[in-house]
């Protein structure tokens, strides 16, 4: 009676303590795994003992020792089999097999270092590029501020005026607190010596408490520093500045440093990893906003009112929704704005400033509340679109790398057919083989992922440095967080599994006997579009798409760069100069006239420096387009933009803008009572004087305070600044005192004869001597300024080119691999052909023909994909280009040429290899 029914039934009494049992069982399994060698020894000894006992019993029944032993073995039934079953019963089989697979795979990979390196490198490049871009996007776009409860932070628009902030600060119905901050450059001296310009942050009283950021040492700036304007000369150090400048010496708390000539006490140090609320920047010093007039003399004694620049954050009271808060605050804000606008605009707008109009303007100025968990960022606005584009590019790159890997794996699997067939014949299960091959590709992918992480780390820092050219250095928290690491791990694993499956399946699905007999040989695939050829075509197509993209962005950048800016970028230094209260010059020291005297004094001194060819002042720089804007109507009825900046004489010659008619402004035009004059650019002449010379004609736009008629005295060449990608705007250059505008900050432009870097310190000293309260801005060459403005275009062009080149390299490696492999596989056939009379040239042609075929198909597919992508994403890409259509024939043609050239070179090597085949050798080896 053998059948024992009830195998599937439960044992209710034994289910109690199920969990305990499982834990105990798991412990047993682990123990068995760890002590495996000992277990094997004991099992062997146990079975040997068993055999002895049985042998003795058989001998007792009358058999001789040899026969007894044989019978004992029979009764036990196959020693190895029993051992296998015991091993199976240990419950560690899966883990043991996994361990074996890993060890075997590692050995195999070590035996073929070239292959392993090729795969690890190409995967590493692909994964690394993706991780780098993703990491950047994470740091710039998504990462939340390192503060308490970032999701509870709400921003009031992008920027908000300080007085408006005071209205919010006073609210206690819907808000649980509000804080304001603004970045300012600071003129710092430590122990009497002038320091480089420091990045400062003016903060309101609740800044640190609202964010929940405790000081790392000393105390944080708080409400006690927010009482009396000008009465709190205290400062907090940023962590980076404390490290760089004070070597993390805690005794600095309590010392004094000088800002704009006044001593400030260091009261505390900000914690590490806190870098203000603007992503991409890191303040060196934190100063209470009540000290604003002392550190930012240009703004006079009140932080800028209507057009304010503050970043304002607030938290809501419990139970209040953002919409409730926004509408509750609307009233007080509008009241304030109305009052302000009323007093400020009425003189200028006269009777156009009706209460209704003012109220409408006020409503428009209230931005409501927006979530601010990720803080503010100018950098974000600049690079978010290029970065998204780049993500697409690197995604394509990864695809190419994966295709390469898959091809390499396929090729290897085919080469190993004999080995796999032997293993199958020896009894390995097909699934076991596949598992082992999969483990190999996963290990390769993990290797690639590790290389990728290293590449990403290096690339990210390089990228940030690159983006920082020409502007204040960008500071980002680039530590890889879980998101980025998880992303990398996911991509690596997915790659390994995805592109290891197909080769693994193919490798184990072939006929045993024919392979062992060698009938198929090593070549494997013959005619027909097998996966290997398809993969190479895909690689070629995708790299063509990337090359086209690279061509587009590179041409766009070149066009921008070569655009006739009509100014000389390399020999001109630019320094911003913002003396006391120059922001509203009517309130400046002794008014506009006083400022003018200061500027003229500065110009005289700087012009006297050795090495200086000429010096002048202008209101604007390439990164900062200041000046009055108007929208007048041309005689032909068109409404155009008009830019009216202030300049000093010799500006045009300093910067290198040629004069095409008339004369430049002269010293005599600068007096307040001289006749109002102006210089215009060619676009102005074209728009307003339609071809005729405007010299001597009236200005057509009157903005001088004296309202006397103004006369045009000269015309200069068009020159683009600040908005390089836009059209040139009509410009009317006016002397400083003759403009009725409100601002008085200027930028010093100095043309030098030698190296600009040599003269920068002297120029800064000169500015300091002229007015010690002027905050020190960094002196830069015009070239650096321009580069800083073109950050997007530079980023795209450089990276697209780099990635395009890498993609091309990968695709060519793939092509080379395929062709070389095919030559090896068809060695016998080639031998036969040559024996039958084919020349070496014919053989070379045969290989090249294959390459050209693949190129043709790949190229066509690539162009089609490129055009389709351009159609789909056209609007996105157009905004990033200058002077080109998205479907640019030159770029496409150029990319094709490059692809064909490089790929042909890649194909020549295998072709030569084929030509070098010795027919007799090949026929003998078959």
């Amino acid at each position: 009676m053998g059948a024992y029914l009830g195998r599937g039934e439960r044992y209710p009494a034994v289910e109690a303590g199920c969990a305990v049992r499982l834990v105990a069982e798991l412990r047993e399994r682990l123990r068995a795994l760890v002590f495996r060698p000992r277990e094997e020894r004991e099992m062997d000894e146990e079975l040997q003992t068993h055999l002895q006992f049985e042998t003795e019993r058989q001998m007792a029944t009358g058999f001789d020792p040899v026969e007894a032993r044989r019978r004992a073995h029979l009764r036990l039934g196959g020693m190895e089999r029993v051992k296998e079953e015991v091993r199976s019963a240990r419950g560690t089989r899966a883990l043991e097999e996994a361990g074996q697979d890993i060890r075997y795979s590692l050995r195999t990979l070590r035996r073929h270092p070239g292959f392993t390196a090729a795969v690890a490198l190409s995967l590493g490049l692909g994964i690394g590029a993706n991780t780098a871009i993703f990491s950047l996007m994470d740091a710039v776009l998504w990462r939340t501020l390192p503060v308490d409860d970032p999701e509870g932070l709400w921003a009031v628009g992008d920027r908000f005026p300080y007085d408006g902030f005071r209205v919010l600060e006073a609210d206690d119905t819907v808000l649980a607190g509000a804080a304001a901050s603004v970045r300012v450059p600071l003129n710092v001296s430590i122990d009497g010596s002038l320091e480089p310009t420091a990045e400062g942050l003016l903060v309101s009283g609740r800044f640190f408490s609202l964010l929940g950021v405790p000081p790392a040492a000393g105390r944080a700036i708080g409400l006690e520093d927010h009482q009396v304007p000008g009465g709190h000369p205290v400062v907090m150090l940023g962590d980076g500045y404390w490290t760089r400048r004070f070597a993390r010496d805690r005794s600095v708390v309590g010392r004094a440093i000088a800002i704009s000539g006044l001593p400030y006490t260091v009261v505390g140090i900000a914690p590490p990893n806190f870098a203000g609320v603007e992503v991409g920047t890191a303040p060196d010093l934190y100063v209470p906003v009540t000290m604003q007039s002392a550190v930012m003399p240009a703004l006079g004694n009140r932080p800028n009112a209507i057009t304010g620049q503050f970043r304002v954050l607030a938290r809501l009271r419990p139970g209040v929704s953002p919409e409730q808060a926004a509408s509750a605050l609307e009233g007080p804000v509008i009241t304030w704005v109305t009052a302000e606008l009323g007093t400020r605009l009425s003189p200028e707008m006269g009777d156009r400033a009706t209460p209704a109009r003012i109220r409408l303007a006020a409503l428009n100025l209230w931005p409501g509340l927006t979530p601010a968990a990720a803080g503010f960022s100018e950098l974000r606005d600049q690079v978010s679109r290029p970065l998204s584009m780049l993500l697409f590019v690197v995604g394509t790159l990864l695809l190419i790398a994966c295709a390469n890997t898959a091809n390499l794996l396929l090729a290897r699997a085919t080469v190993r057919r004999r080995e796999l067939a032997t293993r199958l014949a020896l009894g390995a299960g097909r699934s076991r083989l596949m598992r082992q091959l999969l483990v190999e590709s996963v290990i390769l992918a993990v290797l690639g992922g590790t290389v990728g992480l290293a590449v990403a780390y290096w690339a990210t820092h390089l990228l940030v440095a690159f983006m920082s050219i020409g502007q204040t250095p960008i500071t980002l928290d680039l530590r890889p967080d879980l998101r980025v690491l998880g992303f990398t791990a996911l991509v690596s694993l997915a790659t390994g599994i995805l592109f290891g499956i197909a080769p693994a399946v193919r490798a184990t699905g072939f006929s045993l006997t024919s392979t062992l007999r060698g009938a198929v040989g090593l070549g494997g695939r013959r005619r027909g579009w097998g996966p290997d050829r398809m993969l190479v075509v895909v690689q070629l197509a995708l790299s063509l798409v990337l090359l086209i993209g690279a061509g587009l962005f590179a041409r766009s950048l070149a066009a921008l760069n070569n655009r006739d800016f009509a100014f000389d970028r390399d020999r001109v230094i630019v320094v911003r100069v913002e003396p006391q209260a120059s922001n509203t010059r009517s309130r400046a020291r002794q008014g506009a006239a006083g400022l003018d005297r200061l500027y003229r004094d500065l110009l005289d001194r700087v012009s006297a420096l050795p090495g200086v060819v000429s010096a002048s002042l202008a209101q604007f720089t390439p990164s900062n387009r200041m000046g009055i804007e108007r929208q007048p109507t041309t005689p032909s009825g068109e409404v155009v933009s008009l830019h009216i900046p202030m300049v000093y004489p010799r500006y045009f010659e300093t910067v290198g803008v040629p004069l095409v008619a008339g004369r430049d402004l002269a010293a005599r035009d600068l007096d307040a009572d001289s006749a109002p004059v102006a210089v215009v650019n060619e676009t102005f002449a074209r728009q307003f004087y339609r071809g005729g010379s405007p010299v001597g004609q009236p200005c057509l736009v009157n903005i001088s305070p004296s309202k006397r008629p103004c006369q045009i005295v000269g015309v200069v060449r068009d020159s683009a600044y600040a908005d390089f990608t836009g059209d040139i705007v009509a410009t009317l250059y006016q002397p400083f005192l003759q403009t009725a505008g409100n601002r008085g900050q200027m930028a010093l432009h100095v043309r030098v004869a030698g190296e600009p870097a040599a003269l920068m310190p002297s120029i800064r000293t000169m500015v300091a001597e002229t007015d010690p309260t002027v905050p020190h801005f960094e002196a830069r060459t015009l070239a650096e300024e321009v580069s800083g403005v073109m950050i997007r275009e530079r980023l795209l062009a450089t990276l697209a080119s780099v990635f395009g080149a890498v993609a091309l390299a990968l695709a060519c490696v793939g092509l080379y691999g395929l062709l070389a492999f095919a030559v090896v596989g068809r060695t016998a056939e080639i031998g036969v052909r040559m024996a039958l009379g084919a020349s070496r040239g014919d053989v070379v042609f045969m290989v090249l023909r294959e390459a050209l075929l693949l190129l043709a198909v790949g190229g066509t597919v690539g162009v089609l994909i490129g055009v389709a992508a351009a159609r789909l994403a056209g609007s996105q890409i157009e905004g990033l280009l200058f002077g080109l259509d998205v479907i640019d024939p030159v770029s496409i043609a150029g990319a094709c040429v490059v692809l064909v050239l490089v790929a042909t070179i890649a194909a020549v090597l295998p072709a030569r290899g084929a030509a070098a085949i010795d027919p007799t050798e090949s026929l003998r080896n078959g």
């Binding site: 009676m1 053998g2 059948a3 024992y4 029914l5 009830g6 195998r7 039934e9 044992y11 009494a13 034994v14 049992r21 105990a24 069982e25 047993e28 399994r29 068995a32 004991e42 099992m43 000894e45 146990e46 079975l47 003992t49 068993h50 002895q52 006992f53 049985e54 009764r75 036990l76 039934g77 196959g78 089999r81 029993v82 079953e85 015991v86 199976s88 019963a89 240990r90 419950g91």
Partner: protein
């Protein structure tokens, strides 16, 4: 088809091993002999299936093993039953009686009896 030496399925073997070990601890070979003797030689134990079964039971905590000296001063691995094993034996025994009772019932079922 004759009813010669019968074969045992895995679950039954475990139950018999537990029963044998409940009487006294034994090493593997001794266990095989004992079960054969206890069954009046009806069951011929596949010696090769004994060791995997013992390994499984050891993993599940129903038996424990230790190396001891036999009467002839040889080293052998002795298995003994644990408390959990005793519990398992009781449960298996109850299940066996239920099942075999049911099979007996079916075999003795006469026509017409409802």
């Amino acid at each position: 088809m004759g009813f010669g030496r019968a074969d045992l399925l895995q679950g039954t073997l475990e139950m018999l091993v537990l029963r044998a070990l409940a009487l006294e601890p034994m090493h593997g070979w001794g266990l095989a002999q004992r079960i054969e003797a206890m069954s009046n030689s009806v069951f011929e134990i596949q010696q090769g299936s004994l060791y995997p079964a013992l390994q499984r039971m050891k993993r599940k905590g129903w038996v424990r093993a230790e190396w001891l000296q036999t009467e002839n001063n040889r080293r052998a691995r002795y298995y003994s039953i644990t408390a959990a094993g005793e519990k398992r034996l009781t449960a298996e025994r109850a299940q066996w009686e239920r099942t075999s009772g049911a099979v007996n019932g079916i075999l003795q079922w006469k026509r017409g009896v409802l």
